[in-house]
Symmetry: C2
Subunit: 418 residues, 2 copies
């Protein structure tokens, strides 16, 4: 292990292709004779010294990881604060790194992870510990700065567009005597990227989804209901896609409008889709169905986009390259070198340009009436859902997803008293 | 048109493969030189004389129909009553059939449709009108009598098993710091066939889904919560699949437990998943996510089972054969000729054996503890989700679904005063 060890960790909500990035990291590191350890449950595993030895996995397992959704080593929602506030934790990380000869730290996540990786690199410099920290992008929210898109988003976007198109064919068939309005709730608390991706299912304002509700626009119930009525009267039915994060003019989340307690005093979990469906039913009298795909939209590896999958692999491979070159505190970003034909490449960007920034959807992506996407949005989104990522299926009719052995590395330090 | 015309109609909830049956019907009738008309919105189109001329569609469109979800001609929820109660409607049907030289009537649906086709055949005999009526099976509910399974079920079952497995990988990765319990709501108001299919996602009681709630068993909240807690304590997380039709010991639908009106007096649409999630959160304190796939589970042609798709095509083709042979008042049923290796064939069964019967899930399919499926259920279900049905994808990353021209046939009769 002349080169030292590489530590890889996953962070935040997982995606259909974050394991493709892990696979890219491990396979490429192997080809460069660098051993990879993985942290159990993200940064927590690094703090707890709960590390997994990926050298115990076969080449076939690492290859299969590239088509397995979820997070193979576990992820976590655990944000480190500033170097001052959480100094003990950052120092503990360095101790664990030293104990296992970790010279490369790859943190695969969103804004927070980029920030953490950046801070760890600063502390390592302060302590003169030779460590190269790389942030590796991942998020279905598509909200990372600088990079053209984020691995994970394209696949969730493809899931959304395909599902909305399929459901629309169902509703169209049923509308004469049954369901006239269908409401689809898309993830996206702060930005409407996934709701926008649903717009790829139809080419004109009369094709489904005929109504998209974005968190970037204040939800106006009267305008919404008027639009639904108009669509039903013209088309015969209407598909609504609503971002979970839509808010009214007072800034209140629509998802909270229902909810609360039911008649028995039990928690009533609301949601945007059920609320909108209820309003359509009450005010317009149409029969309505609604869906909340929730985790299905971010774990549907069977519907992953080829573009997204290739980018997920590529950022993993590039991260290893950057690490071995000692390019500290950078993130491999996706750069769109040509819109049509769509071409992209990977380039390093300084972590501080990514950390704690949030990319919102350009105003020019939402149609003037607020209910759909523009040609510009379509041009941006379309290539991201292109192509079908390879997936081996078993004789049992299920995808061949792999479960790693995840052999624990022997601890060398006293237990962490977090 | 020496042979007379064949009228095809779709009924009830559509499936991922009902159009494969339509494609099988039309393609096979063409090969036998029989023209096919299709009724707009099922039997309603026949009553209203709203017919579509399928001879205007290209061979490529009819072929593409085999991989397009939804109902290409529209479906309907419209049940004809007894011959006595609805005699005028049945007579109107015969008038329309006569006006368009319809000699073969293929009605593609569930129990009710089999019943309607059967009654139409009786009235035709009474009036000495030469008409051959065929019921063609279709339903994701898998509740038709006699036939081993129903076209549409296998694909919805595959969607369920794959989605549950994928979501489980997501939850497993998040459980340490976030979601510990995930609730998936499966369609099935009267029988737990789709919930049971979720059981194919895991091989042992500790693999997801660790809890399945069937409508065949009374929902016992205390037992449910105890089981979830036990699973979380052992596995770290738990995936629950609940049939939308589960009821408590008093026979009340659990889905109705929430719902009602919210604080603003607005309709609060409940559902099983959100209710169970709320109970888990309140009583066990676990972070919980839930999904209601709704129409997505029956329209996901991108995830159709090859077995199901082949059977959907085969019943369409067989129905035409039976019709042309004058085999009146029958339905092509799927017969399992061998469980392992799985083999099947199509055989005609009298419609009266199918009409108004409901196939429930055998008691031996549910595990003794009530929370999972047995080896017997697995043996029955497994072949039904096997194989991936062919699907051409476009360069835009979306499946190439076809929209038919649906050219209207000129009306010959006075308007129907339904």
């Amino acid at each position: 292990m002349a080169n030292g060890t590489l530590l890889y960790a996953q962070s935040g909500g997982v995606t259909a292709v974050i394991n493709a990035t892990a696979s890219g990291v491990i396979a490429h590191a192997r080809s460069r004779k660098v051993n990879v350890l993985a942290a159990r449950n993200g940064i927590l595993g690094a703090l707890r010294e709960e590390l997994v030895d990926t050298t115990k996995e076969s080449a076939a397992s690492i290859a299969a990881l590239a088509h397995t959704p979820g997070g193979a080593f576990g992820s976590c929602r655990y944000k480190l604060k500033s170097l001052e506030a959480d100094r003990a934790k950052y120092e503990r990380l360095l101790e664990v790194f030293k104990a296992h000869d970790v010279r490369y730290f790859l943190y695969n996540g969103g804004n927070d992870s980029a920030d953490t990786a950046w801070k760890v690199s600063q502390l390592a410099a302060e302590f003169d510990y030779p460590l190269t920290c790389i942030g590796v992008p991942k998020t279905i929210d598509n909200d990372l700065a600088v990079t053209d898109t984020c691995p994970g988003f394209g696949s969730a976007a493809k899931y959304t567009a395909v599902s909305v198109r399929e459901a629309a064919l169902d509703v169209a068939a049923m509308a004469e005597t049954s369901t006239r309005v269908f409401v689809y709730e898309a993830m996206g608390r702060h930005a409407g990227w996934l709701a926008a991706a649903a717009g790829l299912a139809g080419a004109t304002p009369e094709e489904a989804p005929q109504v998209i509700l974005f968190p970037e626009r204040a939800y106006d119930e009267a305008a919404f209901l008027a639009r639904v009525r108009k669509v039903v009267e013209k088309v015969g039915w209407c598909v609504v896609v609503a971002s979970e994060g839509i808010r009214d003019a007072q800034g209140r989340f629509v998802a909270d409008a229902g909810g609360g307690k039911d008649a028995f005093g039990h928690t009533q979990l609301g949601g945007v889709a059920s609320h909108l469906a209820g309003r359509v039913k009450d005010e317009l009298g149409y029969k309505v169905h609604w869906t909340v795909p929730d985790y299905l939209q971010r774990s549907a590896r069977h519907l992953a986009s080829r573009t997204d999958w290739e980018q997920a692999l590529a950022v993993g491979k590039a991260a290893v390259e950057y690490a071995l070159k000692g390019m500290n505190a950078v993130m491999p970003a996706i750069v769109r070198t040509s819109p049509a034909p769509y071409r992209w490449k990977i380039e390093p960007v300084p972590l501080h340009k990514v950390a704690n920034h949030e990319k919102t959807m350009p105003a020019g992506f939402i149609r003037k009436d607020g209910f759909g996407i523009t040609a510009k949005a379509r041009e941006y989104l379309q290539p991201l859902i292109r192509g079908e990522a390879p997936l081996p299926w078993g004789r049992d009719g299920l995808p061949r997803y792999v479960t790693l052995k995840n052999v624990a590395v022997k601890k060398k330090l006293p237990a962490w008293k977090g």
